[in-house]
Symmetry: D2
Subunit: 337 residues, 4 copies
């Protein structure tokens, strides 16, 4: 029985973690913290968890935090680095769902996240938690930087084509549309129903903190510098990301050839499905799957890759549990079907 | 008093035309045809029009169609060319909301629309009905090819930058997300609520019939061949298109410089607003506005232009009325505020 | 030219008022106040109004408020009574869209609104602004209490049957579902997209402030005490209310008889349509119509009446303009088609 | 290992059954039939099931249907009775998700379903599959009539109050709003996204086939004749039913007393949660829970009960599996957490 705790459990990623972990018989969820909801029962905030999670939120206090084997950190970026060093000493295995340990270069972190990094000495130790890319390293990792939601969809979509040299590494255009839960559980006019319903809008063009994450991971995975122009958009759905990637081909290729390449690249990946038709968010919602579909725009000489995930599952909590499974020696798919 | 008729009035574009025209005091709507709804009152099919449109649909019969000054054709592509020649003789002014007269080259039409063109002799006479591009020609036009919804948003977004030589005319990536009404009023599992709600999916990559329309209009407007890679998507909203355009810049430019260029290009256009912040579909729904916002992704060396319209208004019926206003000598904005 | 001002113009009702009034040629909108958005341009907060409303919000200052013929007050309930006395002296005609002047009995007001009434001496002077009930009185009114959104739909649905003695005045059950804009423009987790989308929930059962408003108006209109059990619900749409009313019949009646009774009751009402089929929110969105459909559940011996409105138009701003039209001697429908 | 088959598996209830059953290790899904999709792979129609269900749909042919221990029938009402007699002989245990075996009286069936009943001799044998009411009988049943979605929510909401004599059995008003998946997977303009989105409408008032089902079950459960006036509505969500029940109380009661009564009534029911606050559809979506909240409208002297379920889970496939668990001797909750 693996004992786990969640620090920052009251947001949507934390709730999704609780939902996934609460049905596991090989895992005991022993503590959930949330400073703003301290003293409140979990099922008062999330009635859906009534009958499944019999805990109340506590404020995070390192001294009072129980012994756990694995600690998940689901705090906003900038706050994770404040608790990770301590948790790492005590728990031995830490999975941070925020952005604080995803970039190896603290300067790049500070440029995009607008915080000074307070635990840079841990950065070399952090393993980027994309199992399809870093599976072996994850099996022995102590600190895992769980990928961002947009990067998960973009990297899984691009990596095979880049590694195979089929697309040019510069001038790549990545357009994503995301469900609103990606913005977290927050009180603002901007995130209110009436402002987002029947609406679509872009945000943070060229400035989103996921840009350096995408580029770094692709460079590490493909062994070549990569530039992407990334435009995220909000669409009125609760969950899901649809990413459309456009890259100039290096020489003509067919959709069938691409599909074979991708099928082969992901042959051993239990949560990536290379689809024969255009993928849909509906097919992956509430699952840990990433559905990927590579195709071509022959007239324009470009490869177009479509990739969909549930931002809270494969884009956050599900992938975190997949990483936990690897770190703890469980079968990779445990609890994620 | 201008007498108008609508052929193919029972679809969403036809209904929107009726809605817009029914409040005009200078226009008399005298006939609406719809073969599948013949004999049915308009307000039985569209209860929203009760009290505004006191007509019933008839089957289209050239012999029985009343004398009108302007005929709108809102039939599916492939059917418009069957009625336009006759209507042109009788009405003098015809505005086709379908795709049959948008491409000058019948071979290109046949490649993308999969129909043989049966009225190619009229193609030279058709004026492409984008007032911001072809205003003067529209004032004397007898046959107007009303633009497609995606092309309206893409062309208005790209034209100023292309004309000014600020972006490269090749390697342009156009991603659009559209509300479902763009697919028309139709009975299919694919278009049913449960299949589209909480979902996003792409379709017709590299094969959409609006690709040659976008490229042709941009070539005509900018005087240079243009290649775009266009990916349309469906998102669960009823109305609206959000188009995100990405093009490599020819040399560095700032967002402010772009905004000035666009403001100047659209200074005389009553229905294009160059916005200071990212545009939103909500701001243009049920209006004839196109909100355009040009900006840059400096790191990637690209110009990014966002453009939003209501697909049924500026993308169809509203623009058709704007064209009618020009053709009939009404002030351009009449009935569209 | 009638000069009008809006106090509390930054909420959704205020924005809708600006939208409706800005296209009027016989009305000049000269001032809009909003304490929280003071100094901001209207089109910065509502980009949809760019090109239509060239004003900025000011803080409300009685001394600086310009001379107007009509003042609309769109403040939250409890705040309207603070400004109405002064505005009434200066403007002569005041229309309050909040709840402060709808109930004649200050004790009842205080019970349901949880505020002490600070201007009870004005209550006798206030005319309840439902034109279909109080048309003549509204033509000479100086202070109009514009009805609440739920009451508008419930009263228009029930009044003819009650007046005709067809249904019992006790044991009436009113269930309404409302779009989210009815809750106003506000920052709260509860009103955020992810909490409301794909969700339905009831609220304030037996305690909603619209209960005494519905009962008072029905009693005044039908001349008999009335008890309703009212359950409001939120559904994930932006605009619209669908109200389902169930009342025991006094003796058997047919749907046809009911429809004739209602058609006759609303023969002179330009904004009430008695429909032949079940009404839909879609038919009235962005219009000032109330569509009403009375029918029967023969087995259960009950009359069932369905009633739909747009909560921001007939349920707020549109009805306020309808009232202004009556007060100022304009044709009732001006600017509302 | 229990071998199961599904007849009529291509609709939404069938797909949900496949989703639930495919993760069971104690159940083997060996056949799925669907005449209209015969020859198609399950994951071609439902890409979400790729990797989970490795079957193709076959036309239903009694001769070729494999030996199973349990047969689920998910055909439209009127078609189930054509296959159930044969399946009953071969499988021994049949669970019909349609309406053909829910009413004991064939005349009542014919009145509401508009079909002649072709297997009336099986009606006495059918057990109404609401485990919270008929648990013991279900453990030995061979033919189970799985309840309708609306009845599940209405009966679970009303039964404790009726049995305790707290509400009057006549004049009960039941208002339900349902997600669109309840209407099934079908091609029609009426069910298309653009017609249902941002819309609410009632249907089949006093004529819905679930009315006699609700009344019969309540009469059987409470031992007294019951009359309900039921109004179903469609709201733009995919899944979920929210039912609001209003009944005159027999004598004053408090919300606390009601809650205790209900908590006690459902003490042994693993899938009914009596909630302390108003229940929400979001809390039960994709679960087999029914959340029930009884309260009072003191002014009106009425008990108001709110009840929410997922129409495809507790309202169809989940409840069917709950019944299978009982029939086969599995723990009731197996595979439903």
């Amino acid at each position: 029985m693996v004992r786990v705790g969640i620090v920052g459990a009251s947001g949507y990623s934390g709730a999704e973690l609780m939902r996934i972990l609460s049905v596991r018989k090989d895992v005991a969820l022993v503590a959930v913290t949330a400073n703003t909801s301290a003293g409140q029962r979990v099922d008062a905030l999330y009635p859906a968890l009534a009958g499944s999670v019999d805990l109340e939120f506590r404020a995070y206090d390192p001294a009072a935090f129980p012994d756990v084997d694995v600690a998940f950190v689901a705090l906003p970026s900038g706050q994770g680095m404040g608790v990770v060093p301590d948790l790492l000493e005590r728990a031995g295995k830490v999975i941070d769902l925020g952005g604080d340990f995803r970039l190896k270069d603290p300067a790049l972190y500070e440029q995009f996240y607008r915080h000074t990094h307070t635990a840079p000495s841990l950065l070399p130790r952090a393993v980027y938690g994309l199992p399809e890319m870093n599976g072996p390293a994850l099996r022995t990792a102590s600190l895992v930087a769980n990928p961002g939601c947009y990067p998960t969809s973009a990297i899984l979509g691009l990596l095979p084509a880049l590694k195979a040299g089929i697309v040019k590494p510069e001038g790549i255009v990545v357009n994503s549309v995301s469900g609103i839960s990606g913005a977290g559980r927050s009180a603002s006019v901007e995130m209110s129903f009436s402002e987002l319903n029947e609406n679509v809008r872009a945000y943070k063009i060229g400035a989103h903190q996921h840009v350096p994450e995408i580029e770094s991971a692709l460079r590490d995975g493909a062994g070549t510098p990569v530039t992407v122009s990334f435009v995220p958009h909000l669409v009125p759905i609760t969950r899901g990301i649809h990413t459309t990637i456009s890259a100039a081909w290096t020489s003509p290729v067919t959709a069938d050839e691409l599909r074979e390449l991708y099928a082969s690249a992901y042959a051993g990946a239990p949560f990536v499905r290379v689809t024969g038709s255009y993928p849909q968010i509906q097919s992956v919602v509430r699952t840990n799957y990433c559905d990927v579909h590579p195709t071509v725009d022959r007239r324009a000489g470009r490869v177009v890759i479509l990739s969909v995930i549930d931002n809270l599952v494969k884009g956050a909590a599900g992938q975190a549990v997949q990483n936990m499974n690897l770190m703890c020696g469980f079968p990779e798919e445990t609890g994620l079907r």
